[in-house]
């Protein structure tokens, strides 16, 4: 089994290739063109649709909308449940991120610093939430909480999201705890540090990037998650994805869907970029010799 965090993060620095420069440039131009169409066209269509003037509309065969306005944004904001959904999502996600981190840390610490029989199997078992289809989990989780008599939608979704995203947090924190250097711990203790001081000196610097990465990734996943929020939350607890679904599914309103799509995806992309910068700047901080 290949670990998710390892394969992406550890790219050994290599010298740039010196062969086939011209071929690479050509391939790159072709690919960049495809990718521009791949990403830029769909996103600009979404932006345009969110700005379509309801008076004139955007009908075939107009290539571009005849007039643009921000009225649609105002309308969606004032007449739909979107503000409530945003409030719900943005209350839920940070709570999920923090609770997941707290739940994940002891297990991650154990994986990183202890060897025991069945460790491989235990690590594999933490991936279980990733391999159960989301809607199966959602439907029978809702059935489970019903029979347990839990009626708080917020609490139910919180529980389900924590379990669903624990694999990511455990994986990231295992790597982080593995980077805590035993010699630093020993040195701090040798110099007479209290347990708290040992934690601050030896653990915190190595753990901080992992903690932030885990919080951000779980936050994003929770904002985006649809199956559980939709099935467990329905009908009175709405999140941003369930609002989007309502405009995509049985009641297709393209401009409204455009507005909600952008509200859902733009903050996440910004967070993702921030995360990447964070991970890059964190790398040189892991100074020290190996072995």
């Amino acid at each position: 089994m290949v670990s998710l965090a390892d394969s992406g993060a550890t790219v050994a620095p290599k010298k740039p290739t010196r062969r086939a420069g011209a071929l690479n440039r050509f391939l790159m131009i072709v690919l960049m063109t495809i990718v521009a169409i791949w990403l830029i066209v769909p996103f600009s269509m979404a932006v345009l649709w969110s700005l379509v003037d309801p008076e004139t509309g955007w009908n075939y065969p107009d290539l571009l909308p005849p007039s643009l306005t921000h009225l649609r944004w105002v309308e969606v904001w004032t007449t739909t449940a979107l503000p409530q959904a945003i409030a719900n999502s943005y209350m839920l996600a940070p709570t999920v991120a923090v609770v997941t981190l707290i739940l994940a840390s002891p297990t991650a610490y154990c994986f990183a610093r202890y060897d025991f029989a069945g460790k491989g199997l235990a690590q594999l078992a933490t991936l279980l939430p990733l391999v159960v289809p989301g809607f199966v989990l959602a439907i029978f989780f809702s059935s489970l909480i019903f029979s347990l008599g839990i009626y708080s939608r917020f609490l139910s979704i919180l529980m389900a999201h924590c379990v669903l995203f624990l694999p990511y947090a455990i994986r990231i924190m295992t790597v982080s705890f593995g980077q805590v250097r035993q010699d630093l711990i020993d040195a701090a203790r040798d110099l007479g540090a209290s347990p708290l001081a040992v934690f601050r000196a030896a653990y915190m610097p190595a753990l901080l990037p992992g903690i932030l990465a885990s919080l951000i990734i779980v936050f994003i996943q929770s904002i985006e998650e649809f199956a559980i929020a939709f099935i467990v939350g329905a009908p009175n607890f709405t999140t941003i994805p369930s609002i989007l679904y309502s405009y995509l599914g049985y009641n297709f309103i393209r401009p409204n869907a455009a507005v909600v799509s952008l509200i859902l995806v733009v903050p996440n992309v910004l967070l993702m970029l921030g995360l990447e910068r964070l991970l890059k700047s964190a790398n040189p901080a892991q100074t020290g010799v190996k072995g």
């Binding site: 690919l31 990733l130 649809f226």
Partner: protein, 286 residues
């Protein structure tokens, strides 16, 4: 001392692994029990095979099952086939390679529903693609790409969303092969295809299997893409399950579909992973 250490490890594992096992275990338990007539929201609990018989006997179920299996196989294999050459191309950094891999991986961070919406605009009946095709004169009238009977819209969305994931795993695996090992293969007379078949493929088989398994499971359980862009004459397993639950609260039948979907996800992905390793390892025998 030994038992204290064991206790400590168990205590550390409980909040993370313990919670996962408890929750997934009980959800699984509820699903299985409901499919056999227990945990009813209304009415008496009693063991019965009636729900299984009813669902397995319906034509809709077998259509759903084979449809979801088809989408999952195409998504998993297609993503891996598209991702392999790109991963090999991006193995060694060159100017711009980081930008390319960032752009290629962007769909990973686009939620499924948003991805659906973005492409619905593009492939709509009067969308950009159709207008472009008509403008350059390839077709006379718009082609139906959304909710098409061949499910091409869904397949396209699946590949768009999952190829980056396969790329992520395969890039890591391909990059961990040392330059000297590949140079050695060349030096010993292996051309590009032989290098792929005999060195790269066998050394990345685990990453490829991980990609196949996870993509297969995700695509088999797809709801969002199917509801927005899928054919209207067939339902995916997840869609069918939600439909059964929502119409007249047929929870027990929904449970049958849910359990079947889990079986499909588990065995389908394992079979796929097994076949792929057999195919790749045959590269070593001559």
């Amino acid at each position: 001392m030994r038992w204290r250490r064991t206790l400590l490890i168990l205590a550390l594992l409980t909040p993370g692994l313990g919670v996962i096992l408890l929750m997934i275990g009980s959800v699984f338990y509820v699903a299985v029990m409901q499919s056999f007539g227990y945990y009813n929201l209304v009415g008496e609990d009693s063991f019965s095979l009636e729900h299984w018989e009813k669902v397995l006997g319906s034509k809709q179920f077998s259509r759903s099952l084979s449809y979801s299996a088809y989408i999952a196989v195409v998504a998993a294999i297609g993503s891996v086939i598209l991702a392999y050459p790109i991963a090999i191309w991006l193995r060694r950094p060159f100017r711009g390679s980081l930008a390319i891999s960032a752009v290629l991986k962007a769909p990973l961070f686009v939620p499924g529903l948003v991805a659906s919406f973005l492409f619905l605009n593009v492939i709509a009946f009067h969308g950009v693609v159709n207008q472009f095709l008509m403008w350059i004169g390839i077709t006379d009238e718009p082609i139906r790409m959304q909710n098409d009977r061949g499910a091409w819209g869904v397949v396209f969305l699946q590949l768009w969303k999952n190829m980056p994931f396969a790329l992520l795993l395969l890039t890591g695996a391909v990059q961990s092969i040392s330059d000297e090992v590949l140079d050695a293969a060349r030096d010993l007379g292996a051309g590009s295809f032989a290098r792929f078949r005999k060195v790269i493929a066998p050394l990345t088989v685990q990453a490829m299997q991980a990609a196949l398994i996870i993509i297969f499971i995700g695509a088999a359980g797809d709801f969002a893409f199917q509801v927005t862009a899928g054919p209207t004459n067939v339902q995916s397993m997840a869609q069918y399950m939600v439909f059964l639950k929502d119409s007249f609260g047929r929870w027990n039948q929904a449970a049958v579909v849910g359990v079947s979907l889990m079986i499909l996800a588990l065995f389908g992905s394992l079979i796929l992973a097994f076949i792929s390793s057999v195919v790749l390892k045959s590269g070593n025998k001559w």
